[in-house]
Symmetry: C2
Subunit: 230 residues, 2 copies
Protein backbone atom coordinates (compact mmCIF):
# COMPACT_ATOMS: atom_id res chain seq x y z
CA UNK A 1 0.00 0.00 0.00
CA UNK A 2 1.25 3.49 -0.82
CA UNK A 3 0.84 6.59 1.31
CA UNK A 4 1.05 10.32 0.66
CA UNK A 5 3.93 12.34 2.05
CA UNK A 6 1.51 13.89 4.49
CA UNK A 7 0.21 10.54 5.71
CA UNK A 8 3.76 9.30 6.14
CA UNK A 9 4.71 12.32 8.19
CA UNK A 10 1.76 11.77 10.52
CA UNK A 11 2.63 8.10 10.92
CA UNK A 12 6.25 8.86 11.67
CA UNK A 13 5.38 11.54 14.23
CA UNK A 14 2.92 9.28 16.00
CA UNK A 15 5.65 6.64 16.17
CA UNK A 16 8.09 9.07 17.76
CA UNK A 17 5.55 10.37 20.27
CA UNK A 18 4.71 6.81 21.25
CA UNK A 19 8.35 6.24 22.17
CA UNK A 20 7.82 8.77 24.96
CA UNK A 21 4.39 8.00 26.45
CA UNK A 22 2.09 5.07 25.64
CA UNK A 23 -0.85 6.93 24.10
CA UNK A 24 -0.67 9.98 21.85
CA UNK A 25 -2.97 13.01 22.05
CA UNK A 26 -4.31 15.21 19.29
CA UNK A 27 -2.68 18.35 20.67
CA UNK A 28 0.74 16.77 21.07
CA UNK A 29 0.67 15.53 17.51
CA UNK A 30 -0.50 18.92 16.27
CA UNK A 31 2.41 20.68 17.93
CA UNK A 32 4.90 18.04 16.74
CA UNK A 33 3.71 18.58 13.16
CA UNK A 34 3.35 22.34 13.43
CA UNK A 35 -0.28 22.18 12.45
CA UNK A 36 -3.70 22.60 14.09
CA UNK A 37 -5.65 20.11 16.15
CA UNK A 38 -8.54 20.14 13.67
CA UNK A 39 -6.22 19.10 10.85
CA UNK A 40 -4.93 16.27 12.98
CA UNK A 41 -8.44 14.97 13.64
CA UNK A 42 -9.13 14.92 9.90
CA UNK A 43 -6.01 12.89 9.23
CA UNK A 44 -6.68 10.55 12.15
CA UNK A 45 -9.99 9.60 10.57
CA UNK A 46 -8.23 8.88 7.32
CA UNK A 47 -5.46 6.78 8.86
CA UNK A 48 -7.95 4.98 11.05
CA UNK A 49 -9.96 4.11 7.94
CA UNK A 50 -6.82 2.46 6.56
CA UNK A 51 -6.38 0.43 9.75
CA UNK A 52 -3.12 2.09 10.68
CA UNK A 53 -4.37 3.28 14.07
CA UNK A 54 -6.07 2.19 17.25
CA UNK A 55 -8.34 5.17 17.64
CA UNK A 56 -11.40 5.99 19.76
CA UNK A 57 -12.53 9.55 19.54
CA UNK A 58 -11.59 11.75 22.50
CA UNK A 59 -9.49 8.88 23.88
CA UNK A 60 -6.12 9.30 22.18
CA UNK A 61 -4.56 6.84 19.76
CA UNK A 62 -1.62 4.55 18.98
CA UNK A 63 -0.32 2.90 15.84
CA UNK A 64 -1.77 -0.50 14.96
CA UNK A 65 0.65 -3.31 14.12
CA UNK A 66 0.26 -2.39 10.47
CA UNK A 67 0.88 1.28 11.26
CA UNK A 68 3.99 0.42 13.25
CA UNK A 69 5.32 -1.54 10.30
CA UNK A 70 4.86 1.48 8.06
CA UNK A 71 6.49 3.77 10.63
CA UNK A 72 9.51 1.51 10.96
CA UNK A 73 10.04 1.40 7.23
CA UNK A 74 10.03 5.21 7.11
CA UNK A 75 12.42 5.42 10.05
CA UNK A 76 14.64 2.87 8.31
CA UNK A 77 14.79 4.97 5.17
CA UNK A 78 15.42 8.18 7.10
CA UNK A 79 18.32 6.75 9.07
CA UNK A 80 19.92 4.95 6.12
CA UNK A 81 19.91 8.17 4.11
CA UNK A 82 21.39 10.07 7.06
CA UNK A 83 24.14 7.49 7.22
CA UNK A 84 24.78 7.86 3.49
CA UNK A 85 24.86 11.65 3.66
CA UNK A 86 27.36 11.71 6.52
CA UNK A 87 29.60 8.77 5.68
CA UNK A 88 29.61 8.95 1.90
CA UNK A 89 28.80 12.53 0.94
CA UNK A 90 30.69 14.05 3.87
CA UNK A 91 27.90 16.14 5.29
CA UNK A 92 28.18 17.17 8.93
CA UNK A 93 25.94 15.13 11.22
CA UNK A 94 24.09 18.34 12.07
CA UNK A 95 23.22 19.15 8.44
CA UNK A 96 21.45 16.02 7.32
CA UNK A 97 18.12 15.93 9.10
CA UNK A 98 16.09 18.07 6.72
CA UNK A 99 17.46 16.39 3.62
CA UNK A 100 16.74 12.93 5.02
CA UNK A 101 13.23 14.17 5.80
CA UNK A 102 12.72 14.51 2.05
CA UNK A 103 14.59 11.38 1.00
CA UNK A 104 12.62 9.17 3.39
CA UNK A 105 9.56 9.53 1.15
CA UNK A 106 11.16 8.03 -1.96
CA UNK A 107 9.08 4.94 -2.52
CA UNK A 108 11.21 2.23 -4.16
CA UNK A 109 11.76 -0.68 -1.75
CA UNK A 110 14.54 -2.01 -3.98
CA UNK A 111 16.36 1.30 -3.63
CA UNK A 112 16.32 0.99 0.15
CA UNK A 113 17.73 -2.53 0.10
CA UNK A 114 20.45 -1.63 -2.42
CA UNK A 115 21.39 1.39 -0.34
CA UNK A 116 21.53 -0.77 2.77
CA UNK A 117 23.93 -3.22 1.08
CA UNK A 118 25.98 -0.40 -0.39
CA UNK A 119 26.50 0.98 3.11
CA UNK A 120 27.25 -2.52 4.46
CA UNK A 121 24.12 -2.76 6.62
CA UNK A 122 24.85 -0.09 9.20
CA UNK A 123 23.22 -0.59 12.60
CA UNK A 124 23.22 3.01 13.84
CA UNK A 125 22.77 6.36 12.15
CA UNK A 126 25.10 9.34 12.67
CA UNK A 127 23.05 10.54 15.66
CA UNK A 128 23.43 7.17 17.35
CA UNK A 129 19.86 6.05 16.68
CA UNK A 130 19.42 2.41 15.67
CA UNK A 131 18.45 1.60 12.05
CA UNK A 132 15.57 -0.91 11.80
CA UNK A 133 16.28 -3.82 9.46
CA UNK A 134 13.90 -4.83 6.67
CA UNK A 135 11.67 -6.62 9.21
CA UNK A 136 11.59 -3.68 11.58
CA UNK A 137 14.00 -5.19 14.08
CA UNK A 138 16.77 -3.04 15.47
CA UNK A 139 19.52 -3.11 18.04
CA UNK A 140 18.78 -1.40 21.28
CA UNK A 141 21.61 0.32 23.01
CA UNK A 142 21.65 0.15 26.77
CA UNK A 143 21.57 3.89 26.98
CA UNK A 144 21.85 6.02 30.08
CA UNK A 145 20.98 9.64 30.27
CA UNK A 146 24.04 11.69 31.20
CA UNK A 147 22.09 12.99 34.20
CA UNK A 148 21.94 9.42 35.52
CA UNK A 149 25.50 8.36 34.77
CA UNK A 150 27.37 7.53 38.02
CA UNK A 151 30.60 9.41 38.85
CA UNK A 152 33.86 8.21 37.31
CA UNK A 153 32.25 5.70 34.93
CA UNK A 154 33.57 5.86 31.38
CA UNK A 155 30.80 6.03 28.82
CA UNK A 156 30.46 6.76 25.14
CA UNK A 157 27.99 9.27 23.75
CA UNK A 158 25.64 7.19 21.59
CA UNK A 159 22.63 9.41 20.90
CA UNK A 160 21.36 12.93 21.26
CA UNK A 161 17.79 13.60 22.26
CA UNK A 162 17.01 16.26 19.69
CA UNK A 163 18.18 17.49 16.34
CA UNK A 164 17.73 21.22 16.91
CA UNK A 165 20.32 23.44 15.28
CA UNK A 166 20.87 25.19 18.59
CA UNK A 167 21.77 21.95 20.35
CA UNK A 168 24.04 20.75 17.59
CA UNK A 169 25.82 24.08 17.51
CA UNK A 170 26.52 23.86 21.23
CA UNK A 171 27.76 20.28 20.96
CA UNK A 172 30.10 21.24 18.17
CA UNK A 173 31.47 24.06 20.31
CA UNK A 174 32.13 21.70 23.19
CA UNK A 175 33.65 19.06 20.90
CA UNK A 176 31.09 16.48 21.90
CA UNK A 177 29.75 14.08 19.28
CA UNK A 178 28.61 10.52 18.82
CA UNK A 179 31.48 8.34 19.97
CA UNK A 180 32.95 10.82 22.44
CA UNK A 181 34.09 9.01 25.59
CA UNK A 182 33.67 10.89 28.86
CA UNK A 183 33.30 10.55 32.62
CA UNK A 184 31.46 12.67 35.15
CA UNK A 185 33.79 14.14 37.78
CA UNK A 186 31.31 16.03 39.98
CA UNK A 187 27.65 16.88 40.17
CA UNK A 188 26.51 20.23 41.56
CA UNK A 189 23.14 20.14 43.21
CA UNK A 190 22.68 23.91 43.08
CA UNK A 191 21.95 23.99 39.36
CA UNK A 192 22.35 20.29 38.47
CA UNK A 193 25.32 21.12 36.28
CA UNK A 194 28.02 18.52 35.76
CA UNK A 195 31.79 18.72 35.64
CA UNK A 196 32.91 16.27 32.98
CA UNK A 197 36.17 15.04 31.51
CA UNK A 198 36.88 14.13 27.91
CA UNK A 199 40.20 12.53 27.04
CA UNK A 200 42.79 15.07 25.86
CA UNK A 201 40.73 18.03 27.08
CA UNK A 202 40.73 19.85 30.38
CA UNK A 203 37.59 19.20 32.46
CA UNK A 204 34.68 21.48 31.71
CA UNK A 205 31.10 21.88 32.88
CA UNK A 206 27.82 21.39 31.13
CA UNK A 207 24.34 22.49 32.10
CA UNK A 208 21.46 20.33 33.21
CA UNK A 209 19.56 21.12 30.00
CA UNK A 210 22.42 19.90 27.88
CA UNK A 211 23.09 16.79 29.99
CA UNK A 212 19.45 15.75 29.61
CA UNK A 213 19.75 15.53 25.85
CA UNK A 214 22.79 13.25 25.89
CA UNK A 215 22.53 9.48 26.03
CA UNK A 216 25.52 7.26 26.67
CA UNK A 217 26.53 3.65 26.57
CA UNK A 218 28.72 2.63 29.54
CA UNK A 219 31.65 0.94 27.77
CA UNK A 220 30.42 -2.48 26.50
CA UNK A 221 26.86 -3.81 26.30
CA UNK A 222 24.28 -4.06 23.45
CA UNK A 223 21.29 -6.31 22.84
CA UNK A 224 19.02 -7.13 19.92
CA UNK A 225 15.38 -6.61 20.72
CA UNK A 226 12.34 -7.77 18.78
CA UNK A 227 9.55 -5.64 17.33
CA UNK A 228 6.54 -5.81 15.07
CA UNK A 229 7.13 -7.89 11.96
CA UNK A 230 4.20 -10.24 11.23
Amino acid sequence: MKFSVSEENYIKSIYHLQQQGEVVSTNDLASELQTKAASVTDMLKKLNGKNLLNYERYQGFTLSDEGTKVALSIVRKHRLWEYFLVHELEFGWDEVHDIAEELEHISSPLLVEKLDSYLSHPKFDPHGDPIPDINGKMELRKQVNLIDLPLDVEAEVSAVGSQSTELLELLKHKNIGIGTVLTVLRKFTFDNSLEIKVRNFPPFSISQQLAQTLFLKPLYGSTTVGSISK
Copy 2:
Protein backbone atom coordinates in the same frame (compact mmCIF):
# COMPACT_ATOMS: atom_id res chain seq x y z
CA MET B 1 12.65 30.25 -5.56
CA LYS B 2 11.03 26.91 -4.76
CA PHE B 3 8.55 25.02 -6.93
CA SER B 4 6.05 22.25 -6.28
CA VAL B 5 6.66 18.77 -7.64
CA SER B 6 3.88 19.39 -10.12
CA GLU B 7 5.34 22.67 -11.34
CA GLU B 8 8.74 21.04 -11.74
CA ASN B 9 7.26 18.22 -13.79
CA TYR B 10 5.60 20.69 -16.13
CA ILE B 11 8.82 22.66 -16.53
CA LYS B 12 10.83 19.55 -17.26
CA SER B 13 8.34 18.28 -19.83
CA ILE B 14 8.22 21.62 -21.61
CA TYR B 15 12.00 21.55 -21.76
CA HIS B 16 12.01 18.10 -23.33
CA LEU B 17 9.33 18.98 -25.87
CA GLN B 18 11.24 22.09 -26.84
CA GLN B 19 14.23 19.91 -27.73
CA GLN B 20 12.08 18.49 -30.53
CA GLY B 21 10.24 21.47 -32.04
CA GLU B 22 10.68 25.16 -31.20
CA VAL B 23 7.25 25.92 -29.72
CA VAL B 24 5.21 23.64 -27.47
CA SER B 25 1.44 23.13 -27.69
CA THR B 26 -1.08 22.52 -24.93
CA ASN B 27 -2.13 19.15 -26.32
CA ASP B 28 1.40 17.86 -26.70
CA LEU B 29 2.20 18.79 -23.14
CA ALA B 30 -1.03 17.22 -21.90
CA SER B 31 -0.22 13.92 -23.55
CA GLU B 32 3.41 14.03 -22.36
CA LEU B 33 2.17 14.50 -18.79
CA GLN B 34 -0.74 12.08 -19.07
CA THR B 35 -3.19 14.78 -18.11
CA LYS B 36 -5.90 16.87 -19.77
CA ALA B 37 -5.52 20.03 -21.83
CA ALA B 38 -7.60 22.04 -19.38
CA SER B 39 -5.26 21.15 -16.54
CA VAL B 40 -2.32 22.23 -18.65
CA THR B 41 -3.86 25.63 -19.29
CA ASP B 42 -4.34 26.13 -15.55
CA MET B 43 -0.71 25.40 -14.88
CA LEU B 44 0.50 27.52 -17.79
CA LYS B 45 -1.17 30.53 -16.24
CA LYS B 46 0.56 29.78 -12.98
CA LEU B 47 4.01 29.32 -14.49
CA ASN B 48 3.54 32.35 -16.71
CA GLY B 49 2.72 34.37 -13.59
CA LYS B 50 6.09 33.33 -12.19
CA ASN B 51 7.86 34.45 -15.37
CA LEU B 52 9.01 30.99 -16.29
CA LEU B 53 7.31 31.00 -19.70
CA ASN B 54 6.88 32.97 -22.88
CA TYR B 55 3.19 32.47 -23.32
CA GLU B 56 0.45 34.05 -25.47
CA ARG B 57 -2.85 32.32 -25.27
CA TYR B 58 -3.73 30.13 -28.26
CA GLN B 59 -0.19 30.67 -29.61
CA GLY B 60 1.88 27.99 -27.86
CA PHE B 61 4.69 28.63 -25.40
CA THR B 62 8.36 28.17 -24.60
CA LEU B 63 10.44 28.42 -21.44
CA SER B 64 11.82 31.85 -20.56
CA ASP B 65 15.51 32.12 -19.68
CA GLU B 66 14.56 31.75 -16.03
CA GLY B 67 12.40 28.72 -16.85
CA THR B 68 15.23 27.13 -18.80
CA LYS B 69 17.54 27.57 -15.84
CA VAL B 70 15.06 25.77 -13.61
CA ALA B 71 14.60 23.00 -16.18
CA LEU B 72 18.33 22.44 -16.48
CA SER B 73 18.75 22.15 -12.75
CA ILE B 74 16.05 19.47 -12.64
CA VAL B 75 17.62 17.62 -15.58
CA ARG B 76 20.98 17.84 -13.81
CA LYS B 77 19.57 16.26 -10.68
CA HIS B 78 17.75 13.54 -12.61
CA ARG B 79 20.82 12.50 -14.55
CA LEU B 80 23.20 12.64 -11.58
CA TRP B 81 20.89 10.39 -9.59
CA GLU B 82 20.62 7.97 -12.51
CA TYR B 83 24.39 7.84 -12.65
CA PHE B 84 24.55 7.15 -8.92
CA LEU B 85 21.91 4.42 -9.10
CA VAL B 86 23.65 2.58 -11.93
CA HIS B 87 27.31 3.07 -11.08
CA GLU B 88 27.16 2.95 -7.29
CA LEU B 89 24.04 1.00 -6.35
CA GLU B 90 24.30 -1.43 -9.26
CA PHE B 91 20.87 -0.93 -10.71
CA GLY B 92 20.37 -1.88 -14.35
CA TRP B 93 20.24 1.14 -16.65
CA ASP B 94 16.68 0.20 -17.52
CA GLU B 95 15.46 0.26 -13.90
CA VAL B 96 16.44 3.74 -12.80
CA HIS B 97 14.18 6.15 -14.62
CA ASP B 98 11.21 6.10 -12.27
CA ILE B 99 13.34 6.33 -9.14
CA ALA B 100 15.30 9.28 -10.54
CA GLU B 101 11.94 10.87 -11.35
CA GLU B 102 11.32 11.02 -7.60
CA LEU B 103 14.85 11.90 -6.54
CA GLU B 104 15.06 14.85 -8.93
CA HIS B 105 12.62 16.77 -6.71
CA ILE B 106 14.79 16.71 -3.59
CA SER B 107 15.50 20.36 -3.05
CA SER B 108 18.91 20.77 -1.36
CA PRO B 109 21.40 22.43 -3.76
CA LEU B 110 24.26 21.39 -1.49
CA LEU B 111 23.21 17.77 -1.84
CA VAL B 112 23.43 18.00 -5.63
CA GLU B 113 26.92 19.46 -5.54
CA LYS B 114 28.17 16.92 -3.02
CA LEU B 115 26.70 14.12 -5.09
CA ASP B 116 28.37 15.53 -8.20
CA SER B 117 31.78 15.55 -6.46
CA TYR B 118 31.22 12.12 -4.99
CA LEU B 119 30.62 10.77 -8.49
CA SER B 120 33.66 12.70 -9.83
CA HIS B 121 31.64 15.10 -12.01
CA PRO B 122 30.28 12.68 -14.59
CA LYS B 123 29.51 14.17 -18.01
CA PHE B 124 26.96 11.63 -19.25
CA ASP B 125 24.24 9.60 -17.59
CA PRO B 126 23.79 5.84 -18.09
CA HIS B 127 21.51 6.41 -21.10
CA GLY B 128 24.19 8.51 -22.78
CA ASP B 129 22.46 11.83 -22.14
CA PRO B 130 24.71 14.73 -21.12
CA ILE B 131 24.58 16.01 -17.52
CA PRO B 132 24.34 19.83 -17.27
CA ASP B 133 26.88 21.39 -14.93
CA ILE B 134 25.90 23.80 -12.14
CA ASN B 135 25.62 26.63 -14.71
CA GLY B 136 23.48 24.61 -17.08
CA LYS B 137 26.27 23.94 -19.56
CA MET B 138 26.71 20.45 -20.93
CA GLU B 139 28.70 18.54 -23.49
CA LEU B 140 26.97 17.82 -26.72
CA ARG B 141 27.77 14.56 -28.43
CA LYS B 142 27.96 14.62 -32.18
CA GLN B 143 25.29 11.99 -32.43
CA VAL B 144 24.04 10.23 -35.55
CA ASN B 145 20.87 8.28 -35.78
CA LEU B 146 21.59 4.66 -36.67
CA ILE B 147 19.35 5.10 -39.70
CA ASP B 148 21.80 7.72 -41.00
CA LEU B 149 25.06 5.95 -40.18
CA PRO B 150 27.02 5.18 -43.36
CA LEU B 151 27.97 1.58 -44.15
CA ASP B 152 31.09 0.13 -42.55
CA VAL B 153 31.69 3.05 -40.19
CA GLU B 154 32.47 2.02 -36.63
CA ALA B 155 30.35 3.91 -34.12
CA GLU B 156 29.53 3.65 -30.44
CA VAL B 157 25.97 3.64 -29.13
CA SER B 158 25.74 6.79 -27.00
CA ALA B 159 22.04 7.37 -26.39
CA VAL B 160 18.66 5.76 -26.79
CA GLY B 161 15.66 7.80 -27.86
CA SER B 162 13.18 6.47 -25.33
CA GLN B 163 13.09 4.79 -21.96
CA SER B 164 10.14 2.47 -22.57
CA THR B 165 10.39 -0.92 -20.92
CA GLU B 166 9.58 -2.59 -24.24
CA LEU B 167 12.52 -0.93 -25.94
CA LEU B 168 14.93 -1.67 -23.13
CA GLU B 169 13.82 -5.29 -23.04
CA LEU B 170 14.55 -5.65 -26.75
CA LEU B 171 17.96 -3.98 -26.44
CA LYS B 172 18.87 -6.29 -23.61
CA HIS B 173 17.89 -9.28 -25.74
CA LYS B 174 20.07 -8.10 -28.61
CA ASN B 175 22.98 -7.29 -26.27
CA ILE B 176 23.01 -3.65 -27.28
CA GLY B 177 23.70 -0.97 -24.67
CA ILE B 178 25.43 2.35 -24.20
CA GLY B 179 29.02 1.85 -25.29
CA THR B 180 28.34 -0.98 -27.73
CA VAL B 181 30.48 -0.52 -30.85
CA LEU B 182 28.91 -1.58 -34.13
CA THR B 183 28.97 -1.12 -37.90
CA VAL B 184 26.19 -1.32 -40.46
CA LEU B 185 26.84 -4.04 -43.07
CA ARG B 186 23.79 -3.62 -45.32
CA LYS B 187 20.62 -1.62 -45.60
CA PHE B 188 17.46 -3.19 -47.02
CA THR B 189 15.17 -0.75 -48.72
CA PHE B 190 12.17 -3.07 -48.64
CA ASP B 191 11.53 -2.58 -44.91
CA ASN B 192 14.43 -0.26 -44.01
CA SER B 193 15.88 -2.93 -41.77
CA LEU B 194 19.63 -3.02 -41.19
CA GLU B 195 22.15 -5.82 -41.00
CA ILE B 196 24.62 -4.88 -38.30
CA LYS B 197 27.77 -6.31 -36.76
CA VAL B 198 28.85 -6.13 -33.16
CA ARG B 199 32.33 -7.37 -32.22
CA ASN B 200 32.31 -10.99 -31.00
CA PHE B 201 28.78 -11.61 -32.25
CA PRO B 202 27.57 -12.94 -35.58
CA PRO B 203 25.86 -10.29 -37.73
CA PHE B 204 22.16 -9.80 -37.05
CA SER B 205 19.39 -7.58 -38.29
CA ILE B 206 17.38 -4.87 -36.58
CA SER B 207 14.16 -3.19 -37.63
CA GLN B 208 13.67 0.37 -38.79
CA GLN B 209 11.72 1.18 -35.62
CA LEU B 210 14.56 0.03 -33.44
CA ALA B 211 17.28 1.74 -35.50
CA GLN B 212 15.44 5.04 -35.18
CA THR B 213 15.75 5.01 -31.41
CA LEU B 214 19.51 4.48 -31.39
CA PHE B 215 22.01 7.33 -31.50
CA LEU B 216 25.69 6.79 -32.05
CA LYS B 217 28.96 8.62 -31.90
CA PRO B 218 31.29 7.79 -34.82
CA LEU B 219 34.51 6.91 -33.01
CA TYR B 220 36.03 10.22 -31.71
CA GLY B 221 34.49 13.69 -31.58
CA SER B 222 32.82 15.77 -28.80
CA THR B 223 32.29 19.48 -28.21
CA THR B 224 31.24 21.70 -25.33
CA VAL B 225 28.33 23.93 -26.16
CA GLY B 226 26.97 26.89 -24.23
CA SER B 227 23.50 27.36 -22.82
CA ILE B 228 21.48 29.63 -20.58
CA SER B 229 23.33 30.75 -17.48
CA LYS B 230 22.89 34.51 -16.86
